[in-house]
Amino acid sequence: MTARRVSRQQVRADDESTVSDIRIGTDGRVHVFGTSREILEALAAIGVRGDAVRLRLNGAVAMTGDDHSPSSAPATRTPDNQPS
């Protein structure tokens, strides 16, 4: 491999830490990138069905002791073609 030298210029990125990306396909599937607990609760509250929501809210419940019983049945997908 041929090594190159470049400047160590730092590029600033917008801080996306507080932003979730939600896309809804024309087939009704909901894709969420950056799923916070609040996003899961909102999806459950508006009746988005799916094990993806229920299982993950249950995981959150186990950690926080809160009591949530979201609906279940498939509709939500966590978008996955993120890098490793």
């Binding site: 491999m1 090594a3 190159r4 030298r5 470049v6 160590r8 210029q9 730092q10 590029v11 600033r12 990125a13 801080d15 996306e16 830490s17 507080t18 896309r23 396909g25 087939d27 599937r29 894709h31 969420v32 990138f33 950056g34 799923t35 916070s36 607990r37 996003i39 899961l40 299982l55 993950r56 809210l57 249950n58 995981g59 959150a60 950690m63 926080t64 997908r77 966590t78 978008p79 996955d80 073609n81 993120q82 890098p83 490793s84």
Partner: protein, 275 residues
């Protein structure tokens, strides 16, 4: 919980700053002298996003994800797009930043700290340096493309508690065409065996449109033969991003029926499907 001295591991890892053999590109460049290999990373790691997320496998959530910029692969469908590939993007990862972030994550219920990318492997020295300066670190999850060298994985032994391996392609031709990487399958399979020796392991596979026969099935069948007990996470949320539009097979979302089909097939193979 992590069981070795990250200080000692950071010192070992620094060898790769001078002659980088962290991933199977094996560039051998002196990153501390400014030479750049395929990933274009220097010796610093940068975090372009960190937050507590609930979209991971149920046994991991809530998980505090640290997204590091820079990657050794070039997957055409990468959802992080340029942030994954430009290691100059983001906030410098150092011990004070990480310590503060760990406290922040714990306050929000995170049960672990998860390194993601880009690809964390290319930043092992910087990650270990930062971890070695932190107290009370939570369990460490390592989400990786598994294109690491055995030497790199050895640096993680006893540091990482759970490996999450992205087994993306079921054959070398798809890996070469879509991610620009040769010998993909043998490298990932070797690393799965290595990782399993030192930590818990979850294997993830993102279903790609048009790649059920050539990628999903070979991955699932290999796991059924060699690692059937390992949690297998089938992800069906593919959306066309980044350069995917240039690949006719990747330019559309995954059809809705493929996820259930893949789960049925995996169950029939006796796999431990999670997520």
């Amino acid at each position: 919980m992590s069981s070795v001295s990250t200080v000692a591991r950071a010192a070992q890892a620094a060898d790769h700053d001078r002659q980088c053999l962290l991933c199977e590109h094996r560039c051998g460049v002196n990153r501390s002298a400014g030479e750049l290999g395929r990933c274009k990373a220097g010796t610093e790691a940068r975090v372009f996003r960190h937050r507590v997320e609930h979209g991971e496998e149920p046994q991991l959530v809530p998980s505090h994800l640290f997204y590091l910029s820079g990657c050794d692969l070039r997957c055409a469908f990468c959802i992080a797009e340029e942030k994954a590939f430009d290691p100059r993007i983001g906030t410098l990862l150092d011990a004070p930043f990480l310590q503060q972030a760990i406290v922040w994550g714990r306050e929000r219920g995170a049960r672990n700290l998860q390194w993601v990318g880009g690809e964390p492997t290319i930043h092992i020295p910087a990650i270990l340096r930062a971890l070695s300066g932190c107290r009370d670190t939570p369990p460490i999850v390592w989400k990786s493309d598994f294109h690491a060298t055995p030497e790199a994985l050895e640096l993680l032994r006893g540091v990482v508690d759970i490996h999450v391996a992205d087994f993306k392609f079921g054959n070398d031709a798809c890996a070469e065409r879509i991610a620009g990487v040769p010998r993909y399958v043998e490298i990932v399979e070797r690393n799965l065996f290595l990782a399993r020796e030192s930590a818990d392991l979850i294997v993830r596979h993102l279903l790609l449109p048009g790649h059920f026969e050539c990628c999903f099935l070979p991955v699932a069948r290999w796991l059924a033969e060699y690692l059937p007990e390992i949690p297998f996470s089938i992800r069906d949320g593919y959306l066309p991003r980044w350069q995917a539009r240039h690949h006719t097979d990747l330019a559309a979302p995954l059809p809705a029926d493929i996820g259930p089909l893949a789960r049925r097939e995996a169950a029939m193979l006796g796999l431990n499907v999670v997520g």
